[in-house]
């Protein structure tokens, strides 16, 4: 293997080539070429149904791509699933933890599933509880938590094993502004420690916090760049303007 390739492998966290997913007649994602660099916070934007969740699910191995390929943290999406699973964390758009387990039991379960045992497991739980300030709710059933707490619990479970790459699908939907700000501080902490983060959002202020962004519309990648570059590409002033313009265009096509 050449040195150049090695450098690429360490620099690039996610690389997709012509990724496509269809559900029967519905084309959810089409010809997607994405590149996410190591250690960056990468935002994915797009109207409802534009293919954000489908993209993440493919990258996590939850959906098999209909065409195209990808590498995730240097592993091939089609042939190295188990290596990928060990290196990524995922928070689904819909709360996916056990309502009938307590906060502690959920975190313990996920940490243990990732192979932590004994003293290391206990230490990691303490660490996560401190980092995400979960201690006051430790013995509460997850089903009884409010939105913000649920999302923090989700993040604790998704990061229990120090993943190299974190996929967050609308992690701050239904979370109040203060909790949202705190959540983003934690995301930055993770990125500073070297975790690559892919996050989808509908909030423009959150989009502005991402180092780079991808814009999806009807399954197509239509722009990729920094929060400053993208509006310029469309001759608009802000990302929000781009977003609304895209949605208008989508509706025009659908009509």
């Amino acid at each position: 293997m050449s040195t150049a390739l090695d450098t690429v492998a360490t620099e690039v966290a996610v690389q997709t080539r012509g990724l496509r997913k269809t559900f029967g007649p519905v084309v959810a994602v089409e010809g997607l070429d994405l590149e996410i660099r190591r250690g960056e916070v990468f935002g994915v934007l797009g109207p409802n149904g534009s293919g954000k969740t489908t993209t993440i699910r493919m990258l996590c191995g939850l959906l098999t791509p209909s065409a195209g390929d990808a590498t995730v943290v240097g592993y091939d999406l089609r042939s190295q699933q188990s290596e990928i699973r060990r290196s990524i964390g995922y928070m689904s758009q819909r709360f996916g933890l056990y309502d009938d387990l307590t906060v502690r039991e959920n975190v313990r379960f996920y940490a243990a599933v990732y192979g932590l045992r004994g003293a290391a497991l206990d230490a990691r739980i303490v660490e996560l509880f401190e980092q995400l300030e979960l201690t006051p709710r430790a013995e509460q059933l997850a089903g009884k938590l409010s939105g913000g707490w649920k999302q923090k619990l989700g993040l604790a479970c998704a990061t229990a094993h120090h993943p190299k790459m974190l996929f967050l699908d609308e992690p701050t939907a239904g979370v109040d502004p203060a909790a949202r700000r705190r959540f983003w501080e934690i995301i930055y902490d993770l990125a500073r420690d070297g975790t690559t983060v892919l996050v989808t959002t509908h909030y423009m202020d959150e989009a502005a916090r991402c180092q780079r962004l991808a814009f999806l519309s009807r399954g197509h990648l239509i722009a990729q760049g920094t929060a400053a570059e993208i509006p310029a590409q469309f001759g608009e002033r802000t990302i929000e303007d781009v977003f609304i313009e895209l949605q208008r265009r989508d509706e025009g096509e659908a009509a």
Partner: protein
């Protein structure tokens, strides 16, 4: 092998499932209380024979001979004499009102005819609206008549009756249907609850969205499914114990063979049914579908396994279907061990069938299960 599962996350999975099971009051009630209630219902309601028919007597003969006949009839156990009546009109009235289901009418000349060596007649009136009761009355009357005849004949000739057929009902001397039905009910309840509860297990996680979060982890397929199955094997054992104890206390079913052997084979039986449930659970999209499919599988279990109707009298195709049901084999095992104190040498083919089914069904579910959300 254990080490492999340990790495693949079987223990955390088991721990989680047991905690959830403990908090799931509804499932717990369903698997422990429901079988108990059903056992009582089934045990009392399903009776393939009728005993103690309420019977009135119109004894116009008032002789030692007439009383001897009534005694013999009472001894068959099919009749319970609830009183005497004075006229045929009264016979009609009590039967019409449902106070009695049968009446024995012994005419005035009964004893006289016997004395003269003539044939004496007695009459049984039966409310045949219930065919089961009617056939019990008829067979009871025929039995009593034959027994009394041969006794009288023997008296007259001063010797032994020329022919006597002795029926020995082995294993179930009282010919009580509970002894046959209750072990069957144990099998049916075990198979139904394991199947239904299990068929919901995986699809419930799919519906709630927790499966999506679970399958992105390195947790192995075998660990995931084994973690789902093993707690319910334990539940199955609790269930079996509850119904066995109840069966013993309430219906006095005999436990003649080795309980250890029964419990060992039950493990394979429970796992086989859980395997069917698991297979359903990995195949369907919703809990509703799972329940529907579960019922679809339950019906042949009840009808074709030999639980209610003897398999020997079924059409060939029904017998073939019966051969793929774990319950068919387990019924033989249950009745064999409980009633006939069968040892492994007598029931090894059934045991082998159950172990094979358990293994094949579980492996099939693991192979079918995909760690995706498609």
């Amino acid at each position: 092998m254990l080490a492999r599962f340990r790495r693949a996350g079987l223990w955390p999975m088991l721990r989680k499932e047991f905690i959830q099971l403990r908090r799931d009051r509804l499932t717990l009630a369903m698997v422990v209380v429901l079988p108990a209630v059903q056992l009582l219902l089934f045990g009392y309601a399903i009776r393939t024979e009728v005993r103690n028919l309420p019977t009135v007597v119109l004894d116009e003969s008032q002789s030692s001979e007439s009383r001897a006949l009534i005694d013999v009839m009472r001894n068959t156990g099919n009749f319970r004499v609830i009183g005497s009546v004075a006229s045929r009109a009264e016979v009609r009235r009590v039967i019409e009102r449902g106070e009695a289901s049968a009446a024995v009418i012994i005419p005035p000349d009964f004893a006289a005819n016997l004395k003269r060596g003539r044939s004496a007649t007695a009459q049984i009136v039966v409310d045949a609206a219930d065919p089961m009761a009617a056939s019990a009355a008829i067979s009871g009357a025929a039995l009593a008549g034959a027994a009394r005849s041969s006794a009288i004949l023997a008296q007259r000739t001063g010797g032994q009756p020329p022919l006597e057929v002795r029926v020995r009902p082995w294993y179930n001397p009282g010919m009580r249907s509970e002894a046959y039905i209750v072990p069957g009910v144990i099998g049916v309840l075990l198979s139904i609850t394991s199947l239904v509860v299990m068929s919901l297990a995986v699809v419930r996680e799919r519906e709630r969205g927790t499966l999506e979060q679970l399958v992105v982890t390195p947790l192995g397929r075998t660990s995931l499914l084994l973690g789902k199955v093993l707690p319910f094997v334990a539940v199955g054992y609790v269930q079996m114990t509850v119904v066995l104890v109840l069966g013993k206390l309430v219906f006095d079913i005999p436990v003649r063979g080795s309980l250890l052997l029964l419990y060992l084979i039950a493990g394979a039986f429970i796992t086989a049914n859980l395997g069917i449930g698991l297979l359903i659970s990995t195949a369907v999209k919703s809990q509703v579908q799972a329940t529907q499919l579960g019922y679809f599988v339950m019906l042949p279990n009840i009808l074709l396994s030999g639980f209610m109707f003897p398999r020997e009298s079924m059409p060939e195709i029904a017998q073939w279907i019966g051969l793929v049901l774990p319950l068919t084999y387990f019924l033989t095992v249950l009745r064999g061990i409980l009633l006939k104190s069968a040892s492994l040498s007598a029931i090894w083919p059934e045991t082998l069938a159950l172990v094979t089914m358990a293994t094949v069904l579980f492996s099939l579910s693991v192979l079918r299960f995909r760690k995706t959300v498609e």
